[in-house]
Subunit: 347 residues, 4 copies
C-alpha cells in the first residue's frame, strides 16, 4: 500500500471516529447488567483499591487505552499525548497498528513513546492479515522491539478489510501465524477485534493454539463498518457497507458466552471493550469476568484537548469505578467479580 | 376482465409499489437473526463461492428477481431491463403474472425475453385462482411455452384478490389444480405468496400434493393490502383493507416453523422473500434453511434507473453476501447454513 | 338523582367519548394475536357464512352494538339511528342504561325502537348498582318490557361510579340481585363491564350464581376513568381519576384466562369488547373463544353521520370479518375458532 | 461541616428536587404490576377502611411523608407545613436529616413540630455514616429526644455521599452502630435508602442484627445521583455522577426479592418508597408485601403551595387508595395483600 494511502486512511479514521454517526446504534448490552446496590459497604471509600497488574506492571485501574492512530503527523502527537496521560494516570497503552512503521521505517519514531511512559505496559499492534504476508512474523517481532513493548495486540478485522477498497482479504493461515507468534514472541500476545467482537467460536480456535489474552472489542461502540462506509461514500462500495453498521456480537453476549464455557474461561484473560463509556462500565465488565477494560473513541475525544484533559478524564473513570465498588460494597476488583446483580422481577 | 382494467391495474401496481407507505411497518423478522462473527475466516475473500444452480442453470448468487410487471408498455420495458441485468449478473428472473398474455395474445411478446437472457433461469407466473378457471391448466402450460421458461411460479394471493374490486375469489379446487399442474408441467412448479407469507399449514398441504418448491413471500416487505387499499381509496373498500396492512406470517417465522417439521424441510426447496433488502438478508435466509432468496420492490427501484444501475445493484448484493460469508468464515453457501448465531444473554 | 343531572351526564358522555384522549393508551392485546395465513382457502369467498344466532334471532355477523346513550333528546335520535342500522345490517342492538326511563317515565319512548328493528335482538340495560336499590329487580323487569327486549345487560362499573361525584357506590348485594334476576327474568341476563374488563375472578362468581353470558368490555378501548376524570376537571376529583386511565384487564388476557378454566369456558357464552375496532378484531375474538363481539365508540362515530353511514360501516366490518375468514381458510365462525395462530420464532 | 455548607446544601436539595430532570428516567417497576379488576366488590365504598397503626398511633392511610428538609429557614417552614398537613390528614411524618440540629443546637427547633402534630407518628432521621462518627449513637438518641419522635430513620446513602464534594465516605462500622442503636433506642429504628434502594443482600445484613423496619427508597423516583451531579456541575465531579443517574434497585424488584425469602419477609415490616406517585401505587405496594408507603418529591411539590394544598393532596391519595380497594373488592389493607394480579397472556 502506498505511503500516502496509509497516511490518508489513518487521518480519515481519526477524524471520522469522532462523529456520533460512527457509533453503533445498538448498545454493548451492559445496560441490562445492573448491580444490586449495597447500602452497607462496611468499608471506607479511601480503602478501595482498584490497582492491578498487567504483564508485571502495576496499573491504577484495570484500563487499557485501546489501539488507535497510525503513522501520520497527527498520530505522532496523539501517541505522545496518550503515553503521557497513561503514565500519569497509571493505565496501559495500546499503540495503533504499526504496519506503517514496517513499511516506512522513518515512521518508527511515531511509536517510540517508552521514554514518555517508562512505567506502564505499552502494547504493540499488528494486523492478523499482516502476519501472513511475507515476513509477517518477523515484522511483528520488530514492532515489539520498536515500541519496547510489554505485549503485542494482533487485531482481527475481516469486516473492516472487506469494506476497504484495498483491504487485506487474504486470511488463510492467520490462525497458524498467531500460533507461531505466541511461541516466538518474547512478550504475551493479545488477540483483539476492532469493534465487531470476538465470540465464543473464535475464542475456541484461539485457545486451541495457545492464546491466553483476548480483547473482545464487541459491537456497541465505534462501528468500523460505518467508518469504512463513510470513507468510500464516493465510490460504489458505500451502500455495500451500510448493512453491516451494527454487525457483530456485543460485549455482554461475548463475555457471558465465554464465561459459560469452562475451557474458555479457565484459559483466557479477557479484556472488555466495544462501547465502554464510563468507570461503571468497567465495573460491569469485571463483574462479567473480564480482567481489564479498554476504550478508544471517548479517549480519543478527551486526548484532542491535550494530556491534562485526558489525564483528568482517566481519573474520572477511576473515580466512577471506585464509586461502583463503594456502592456495591467491594473493596477490590476481586470482590467486584462476585457483586450481586439485580434479576428483574417482571410480572 | 377488460384489457384496460388489467393494464391500469398493473400500472398502478408498479407506481404504488415504490412508495414507502406501501411497505409493511413490521419487519420480516431477520433483524432478530444475528450471525456470530468469525474473526478468523481462514480463507481468502477471493475464494468465496456464492454460485449455485437453479433448474440446471448456474447462478452467480442464490437470488431470483421476484415476479413483477404485467402487460403494459411500461412492463415490456421493465421485463427487458430485468432480463438484461439478470443475464449480466447471473441471477434468475421471475416474470410477472402472465394472465394478460393469455387474455390478450398481442401481449405475449412482453414476456418473451429469452433472447435477452439466454443462460439464466426464467420463470413463468400464473395465479392460483387462474388455474381453476376454464382452461386454467392449459393456460399455465402455455405461459411456460411463451416464456420459454425453466419453471413456473403459481402465486397464491387470497388477501390481494379479496381486496380488489373485481378480484378472483373462487378458490375451491386450487390445491387440486396445483397437484395436476405439478404432474403435467414440463418444468418445476414453485408456489409463492405475494407478501403475506406461506406458513407451515399451507406448506403441509402443498407437500402432500407433491409440490417441491416454495417461495415464502412473507410479511415484512411490500404490503399488497396497502397497495390494494390505496388503489380503492375512492370507493368504500378503502378502509376495509387498512386493517390487513401488516397481515401475514413473516419470513423468519415461516422459515423456522417449516424447518422444525422434518417432513416439510426434507421435501421442500425454499425461496426466502418478503422484505429481503440486502446481501446480508440473503445470507440470513440461507442460514435459516432457504436455498434462494428473492426480492421485488428494491429491484424495481433500481430497475427504474436502467439496466446498468440494476446490474450494479445486484452486484452490490452479491458483494454483501460474499462479505457475510467472509465475516462468518464461510467459503460457500453450504457453510453458511451452519454458521453460528448469537443467542442474546439478557440478564 | 335529578332529571337534569342524568341528562347532562349522558350528553357529556356522548360528546367526550368521541375524543381520542378518552381512549386508553394501552391496546386490548389483540395485536399480539396473529393468524397464520392460509394461502389455499379451498373455498369461494361467496360461500363464507358469518351468520349466527343470538337469543333465537339471526345475525348477519356476530356483532352487538354496545350499550350507549341514555335519556336526552340526542340519545333518542341516536337510538333510532342505531336501531335502523342494526336492523338493516342484521346485528344486535344493546340499549344504553335505562335507569332514566324508570326515574322519568316520559323518557320511556327513547328506548322503544322495536318497531324500527323488528327482527334483531334488542337488549335492555341496567346498572348492577341499580339492582340493589329499592325496587331494583322490578325496575330491571320493567326495562325489559319497555324495550320489548330479547335480553338484558347488567353493567358492572364500580370504577366509573367511584369516580362520579354522585356515583352509586353501594355494591353490597349486587351479586345476589343478579342471581335473582337470572331466575326471574323472562329473557337471558348478560353481565358486562363498561371498559375496565371482567376477569376470571369476577367470572367465577357470576358462573356460580348461574350467569351464562358475559360481555368482557376490557381495557384497551374507551376509558371511563378518562371520561369521568374529564367531566370532573373543575372539581378536585379530577386528578384522582387520572391514575386509573388504563386500569383494567384487557380483552385478550380476560378471554384467555377464562378459556383456560374449563368450568368457566364450558358455562359461559362470551362477548368480546373493549377496543374492538375492525372485522379482523371480531375474527380474533372468535378465535380466542368469544361467540360475539361488541363495540361502542367507533359505532358512535359512524352513527353521528346518520343511519346510512352506520349501515355502511357495519357492512365494512362484516366484509373484514369475511376476508379474515377467507385468508385463514375458514368457511364459518365455527372454523375460525380453530384457525392456527403464529408463534413468533424469536432467536 | 460548616454551618453555611449544610444550609446551602439543604437549600439546593429542596430547589433541585423539584426539577423533572432530577427524577430517574426508569420507573419503579410498579407499572408492570396490574390488579385484576373486581367488578363485584360486594361492599359499599363507605365501608372501606384504609386505617392502620404505626408505632401505636393510628393513621388514616398507610402513608409516611418521607424525610426531607434540614436546617434552613425554608425547611423550618416546610417542617411546619408538613406537620400540620400530616396531623390533619392522619399520616406519619418523617423529618429530614437532623444532623444540623446536633451540629448547630440553635437549629433544634426546626425539628420540633410535636405541638403541631400531637397525634401522629413523628420519625427522627440520622445518617448511617453519622452513627459511626464520635458520639454518633448518643446524637441519634438526642435526635429522638429533640423531635419527641416515635421512631428514628437511619438513612444509608453511600452513593450520595460518594458524589458529594465533602461527603461522608467512612462506612466501616455502620452496621454495628445500627445494631447498637436498635438495642439502645427507646423507639423503633427504621433503616432507609434515599432513592437507590435497599436490596435483599442489604436486607439480610440488617435482619441479622435485629432491624425490623425497612424503607426501600428504590430507584424510579428522585435521583440523588442526578441532584448531586447537578450541584457539582461547576467542579469536575459533575460528569462523574451522571452515569449513576438511574443506579439502584427499583421498588418492585426489591419488594419481590425480599418477599421471596421467608427469613426476610417474616422478620421485616416494609415501607415502600422511591417513585410512589399515587394512591394506586400505595395499593400496589401493599399488594407486593409492604405495610406502608412513603414519598418525598410529589409531597414537597404540594407543600410548596401550603398546608391546605398538601392536606388536599394527601386526601386525594387516600381517595385513590380507597378506589383501588373498591375496584379490587377489598374492604381493608389486609384484603389488598391478596388481591389477584393480571398475568399477561402474550402469544
Ligand atoms: C480512531 C481509531 C483508530 C483505531 N485504530 C486501530 C488500530 O490501528 N488497531 C486496532 O487494533 N484497533 C484500532 N481501533 C479499534 C479500537 O482499538 C477498539 O477496538 C474499538 O474502537 C472499540 O472500542 P470503542 O468502542 O471504545 O471505540 C481504532 C479505533 C479508533 C476509534
Ligand atoms: C410492483 C410489483 C408487482 C408484483 N407483481 C406480481 C405478480 O405479477 N405476480 C406475483 O406472483 N407476484 C407479484 N409481486 C409480488 C412479488 O413477487 C413479491 O412476492 C413481493 O413483492 C414480496 O417481495 P418484496 O418485499 O421484496 O417486494 C409483485 C410485487 C411488486 C412490488
Ligand atoms: C358514549 C358511551 C356511552 C355508554 N353508555 C353505556 C351505558 O349506558 N351502559 C353500559 O353498559 N355501557 C355503556 N357504555 C360502555 C360500552 O357499552 C362499552 O362497554 C365500552 O365503551 C367499551 O367498548 P369500546 O371500547 O368499543 O368503546 C358506553 C360507552 C360509550 C362510548
Ligand atoms: C428534597 C429532598 C430532601 C431529602 N432529604 C432527605 C433526608 O434529609 N434524609 C433522608 O433520609 N432522605 C431524604 N430524602 C430522600 C427521601 O426521603 C426519599 O427516600 C426519596 O426521595 C425517594 O422518594 P421519592 O421518589 O418519592 O422522592 C430527601 C428527598 C428529597 C426529595
Amino acid at each position: 500500500m502506498s505511503q500516502s494511502t496509509i497516511n490518508d486512511r489513518k487521518s480519515e479514521h481519526l477524524t471520522l471516529a469522532g462523529l456520533p454517526t460512527m457509533q453503533m446504534s445498538v448498545t454493548n448490552g451492559l445496560d441490562s447488567v445492573q448491580f444490586e446496590p449495597c447500602a452497607l459497604p462496611e468499608l471506607n471509600f479511601s480503602e478501595i483499591d482498584t490497582r492491578c497488574h498487567l504483564f508485571g506492571k502495576e496499573l491504577q485501574q484495570p484500563l487499557i487505552i485501546a489501539s488507535m492512530s497510525g503513522g501520520t503527523r497527527a498520530s505522532r502527537q496523539l501517541n505522545q499525548t496518550l503515553a503521557a496521560a497513561a503514565e500519569q494516570a497509571g493505565v496501559a497503552l495500546g499503540l495503533g497498528s504499526m504496519r506503517i512503521a514496517i513499511e516506512q521505517p522513518e515512521q518508527c519514531s511515531t511509536f517510540q513513546v517508552r521514554s514518555i511512559a517508562p512505567s506502564i505496559p505499552i502494547l504493540a499492534n499488528i494486523g492478523g492479515a499482516q502476519l501472513v504476508q511475507p515476513e509477517g512474523l518477523s515484522h511483528a517481532l520488530k514492532c515489539i522491539d520498536i515500541a519496547e513493548a510489554d505485549g503485542i495486540f494482533v487485531h482481527l478485522n475481516p469486516l473492516q478489510e472487506a469494506l476497504q477498497s484495498q483491504g487485506d482479504t487474504q486470511w488463510r493461515g492467520v490462525l497458524d501465524a498467531i500460533a507461531t507468534l505466541v511461541t516466538l514472541a518474547p512478550v504475551p500476545v493479545i488477540v483483539k477485534e476492532v469493534g465487531h467482537g470476538l465470540g465464543p467460536s473464535t475464542a475456541r480456535k484461539l485457545v486451541n493454539v495457545g492464546v491466553q489474552y483476548l480483547d473482545i472489542a464487541g459491537a456497541g461502540g465505534t462501528s468500523w463498518a460505518a467508518i469504512e462506509t463513510e470513507r468510500s461514500r464516493t465510490d460504489n462500495k458505500a451502500q455495500t457497507g451500510e448493512v453491516f453498521h451494527n454487525f457483530g456480537i456485543n460485549l455482554r453476549d461475548s463475555l457471558r458466552s465465554i464465561q459459560q464455557e469452562e475451557t474458555l474461561s479457565e484459559s483466557l484473560t479477557l479484556i472488555a471493550s466495544g462501547g465502554i463509556r464510563s468507570g461503571l462500565d468497567i465495573a460491569k465488565s469485571i463483574r462479567l469476568g473480564a480482567s481489564f477494560a479498554s476504550a478508544a473513541s471517548p479517549i480519543l475525544a478527551a486526548a484532542n484537548h491535550g494530556t491534562e484533559s485526558l489525564t483528568e478524564f482517566l481519573e474520572q473513570w477511576r473515580q466512577q469505578l471506585r464509586i461502583s465498588c463503594f456502592v456495591t460494597g467491594c473493596a477490590s476488583l476481586r470482590d467486584l467479580r462476585y457483586a450481586p446483580l439485580i434479576t428483574p422481577q417482571h410480572l
